[in-house]
């Protein structure tokens, strides 16, 4: 006999939206896929999205699963932004064709051309806040064993990956294309994806979440390199400890030798560092890169020290060793043989380690989708595609993706980047080409739209779209540049 646990029974809710009366578990949807249990609340999850800034009366407002982020602020009409999600035409010819919507904004007739773009030229740039070694630059990044991208130049406190692109999508084997497409789509839809890097680490990446490197969740970004950390905290260590080593894969700092220590008259300690000295108190390559202390491969920090110099060092000398994120730390006192012996850390030093931790921001993965709108996509908007490009460059037309603000690259074409966490859930789809399908909207004045050769016959008033089928309203979540309330 199967017994249901009490907690499971308590968590599920019974939907009364129709006579099927489904029991729905948390995080799951009912038989209709329209109603779901979100944290114990019955919510609607319909296909088709309208971002809604206005609180409608009565039952017209359909909560979606970002409701908790919504400040409920009432703003003046017009307040609805139609996104492209669900605008495409697909088998079984269910969804309405793309919209060209006209809405009055501040007395000016605005046009939003809503479409879903099919992007073969698209990819994802991932910023992973970690100093841990993920792999050498240009190393291949794999998902399910298939090459989906590469490691690109690192940024401050972060490792960067460049994924997707036409080469992996269509230039390799069928499986490589499919896995690349799945990987891009999952990352773009804010799902977790496990990536492995040739000659490096395995990392679980999810937009807006901490990275998980070789099974260890990254907590914090470093506040600065080891040398910078010495500079920032030297004064707080003065008088509390004789020596501090901040272990870092890039530049390891040593307090007594560092300019900051010298300025505070901190005495020499006879410490001997391994690695290559850059300037006083700053050492390169104290160890190999890795996932241990401060992005190095070491688990025992003493392994980067040589024997203390007997001329300078004396028994009882105290030393703090700490990583750049404060995640690792140990406290030592030299014994009679001038050997460091790990000892309980005094409270005020613990405090300084916590201070380093506090100054390190939470480590996150950020996922930017990047794509270029080709001529055919632009032709869906106007008779003369290049005029749309010019209109975007001249800032007459604003580009958004799923209602989220985008950065449009200068230069030719309409190549844009968008933070996927700013977009509504499930915004991305795919076609088996393989290529990604992403929403893209062009908003402009009706008169400008006519001037650039727009399909004027097909402009629909906003109310018609709102009253149409398959419309899902989303609480207004992300202001669009230039349309802030």
């Amino acid at each position: 006999m199967v017994m249901e646990t009490t907690s499971a029974a308590a968590d599920k809710i019974r939907c009364d939206a129709c006579p099927v009366m489904c029991y729905i578990k948390p995080g799951a949807a009912g038989a209709c896929d329209r109603y779901a249990n979100h944290d114990g609340k019955l919510v609607r999850v319909d296909p088709h999205v309208i971002l809604e800034r206005t609180v409608e009366h009565g039952g017209k407002l359909v909560p979606f699963n970002r409701t908790e982020d919504w400040d409920g602020k009432i703003v003046h009409e017009p307040s609805t932004f139609v996104t492209a999600i669900g605008a495409g035409t697909t088998y079984p010819d269910y969804k309405p064709a793309p919209f060209i919507v006209s809405a009055e904004v501040d007395g000016v007739d605005m046009v939003t051309v809503v479409t879903e773009g099919i992007f073969s030229y698209c990819g994802i740039k991932v910023k992973i806040d970690t100093d841990r070694y993920l792999g050498p630059e240009t190393a291949t990044v794999r998902a399910q064993g298939e090459a989906v991208g590469h490691v690109t130049t690192s940024e401050y406190g972060s490792q960067m990956l460049s994924l997707g692109g036409v080469h992996h999508l269509t230039g390799g084997s069928k499986k490589e294309g499919r896995v690349t497409c799945d990987t891009l789509m999952d990352l773009a839809n804010c799902k977790a994806v496990e990536l492995t890097i040739d000659g490096g680490a395995s990392v679980v990446v999810q937009a807006g979440q901490p990275p998980i490197v070789n099974g260890v969740k990254e907590e914090r970004m470093r506040v600065g390199c080891g040398s910078a950390t010495i500079g920032m905290f030297a004064k707080q260590w003065q008088g509390k400890v004789d020596e501090v080593v901040v272990v870092d894969d890039h530049i390891t700092g040593v307090l007594s030798e560092h300019q900051a220590g010298k300025l505070l008259d901190i005495a020499d300690t006879g410490i001997k560092m391994k690695g290559r000295r850059s300037t006083p108190g700053r050492y390169f390559q104290v160890a190999d890169p890795g996932t241990g202390w401060g992005g190095t491969n070491i688990s025992d920090p003493l392994s980067i020290l040589g024997p203390f110099d007997a001329k300078e060092a004396k028994a009882g000398l105290s030393m703090l060793m700490v990583s750049t994120t404060g995640e690792h730390s140990s406290y030592y006192v030299l014994d009679e043989a001038l050997k460091p012996v790990e000892t309980e850390m005094p409270a005020d030093l613990k405090f300084s380690v916590e201070r380093i931790q506090e100054n390190c921001e939470p480590a996150l993965c950020t996922v930017l989708f990047m794509a270029g709108a080709g001529g055919s996509l632009r032709a869906g908007v106007t008779d003369n595609p290049v005029r749309l490009t010019r209109s975007v460059k001249d800032a007459l037309t604003r580009v958004t993706s799923g209602g989220a603000p985008v950065y449009v690259w200068p230069g030719g074409g309409i190549t844009y980047m968008v933070d996927v966490t700013q977009m509504p859930a499930g915004a991305f789809g795919y076609v088996p080409t393989p290529a990604l399908v992403a929403p893209i909207e062009f908003t402009m004045k009706l008169s400008d739209y006519a001037a650039l050769g727009g399909h004027m016959d097909y402009v629909k008033p906003l109310a018609d779209v709102q009253n149409g089928e398959d419309v899902r309203q989303l609480p207004w979540h992300n202001p669009i540049p230039g349309r802030r309330a």
């Binding site: 006579p19 697909t90 069928k174």
Partner: protein
């Protein structure tokens, strides 16, 4: 008083959208205006209250269909039962396996009872009942995964073919599957039969005991699932080309038996990008989804 379902014409002004609870129908009738109007009126009339009718017998519909006996009374419930019984003698199956196709068939039947139409279809979330007048045909797009957009192939169904029902089942769809198929599309004489067969064939595209496949009891995922504590597929990890071929072959064997017994007219099985076709002749060239430029405006 009976609840009113959602009834509306889609923005193209041609297609009718009917929705009530989990039932979501796209209906299109082609013919002269008077007949189309009559057909849509009949579809709405039949659809109103249909969900309540089914729910009245829901506990029985969620029980295994035993070929020998059934106390089901509703017309649609009986059709569901009749559609699954040919498969019920050697496996667990409930009439719910044919619910979508049976509803589609019922609505199409109600339309054809009152109207003369050139063509018509009732599409219940991908389970489709068709009507084709002499000389007419439909082009049907096949998706490689029901949870994602994208047409992989198109198929032409002519009036002289016996196919009047199409259904797709797989592990990405709305219902649970015992198998691992991304999609199994079945062509059959009726939508209810296609629906039942697609479910059964998709269940047999499987690699029992394979370590890359994660399964969970259906009732842990959906407390009132008709599948009870039986294990349903949650995730499929990496499969070798040999694994994929073996799983497809297992489903193909089931499809061939169904074909030989005259239960289906054809089936297309898809798993991890590979495809196997049973019994159909008319799959057209692979063709990607039309580009935006071809259909950018309503």
């Amino acid at each position: 008083m009976t609840r009113r379902p959602q009834i509306a014409l889609l923005s193209d002004g041609r297609r009718l959208h009917l929705q009530d609870g989990p039932i979501d129908l796209i209906v299109e009738a082609r013919g002269d205006e008077r007949n189309v109007r009559a057909a849509y009126d009949a579809a709405v009339a039949r659809f109103t209250g249909l969900l309540d009718e089914l729910c009245a017998e829901l506990p029985e519909l969620r029980r295994a269909a035993l070929p020998a006996a059934s106390s089901l009374e509703g017309k649609v419930a009986r059709r569901m039962y009749d559609a699954v019984t040919p498969f019920a003698w050697d496996r667990f199956i409930t009439p719910m396996a044919a619910v979508a196709g049976s509803v589609a068939e019922e609505i199409l039947g109600a339309m054809l009872d009152v109207a003369t139409l050139d063509q018509a279809y009732v599409n219940n979330g991908g389970d489709i009942a068709l009507h084709l007048g002499a000389g007419e045909h439909f082009s049907v797009g096949l998706m490689d995964r029901p949870d994602r957009d994208g047409v992989m192939q198109t198929m032409r169904i002519d009036a002289n073919s016996p196919v009047r029902g199409i259904a797709t089942s797989g592990r990405h769809g709305r219902s649970f599957s015992f198998g691992i198929a991304d999609a199994v599309t079945v062509f059959a004489a009726t939508a209810s039969r296609a629906d039942a067969a697609a479910t059964v064939i998709a269940n047999t595209v499987d690699l029992p005991g394979h370590p890359a496949i994660t399964r969970q009891p259906a009732n842990e995922l959906q407390p009132d699932s008709d599948l009870g504590a039986r294990l349903v597929t949650c995730d499929v990890g990496e499969l070798s080309p040999e694994d994929i071929a073996a799983a497809l072959e297992s489903g193909a064997e089931c499809a061939r038996q169904s074909f030989d017994r005259g239960l289906i007219e054809g089936a297309v099985l898809r798993l991890c990008g590979d495809m196997l076709v049973i019994g159909t002749r008319d799959i057209e060239e692979q063709r990607p989804r039309p580009l935006i430029s071809e259909n950018a405006v309503a």
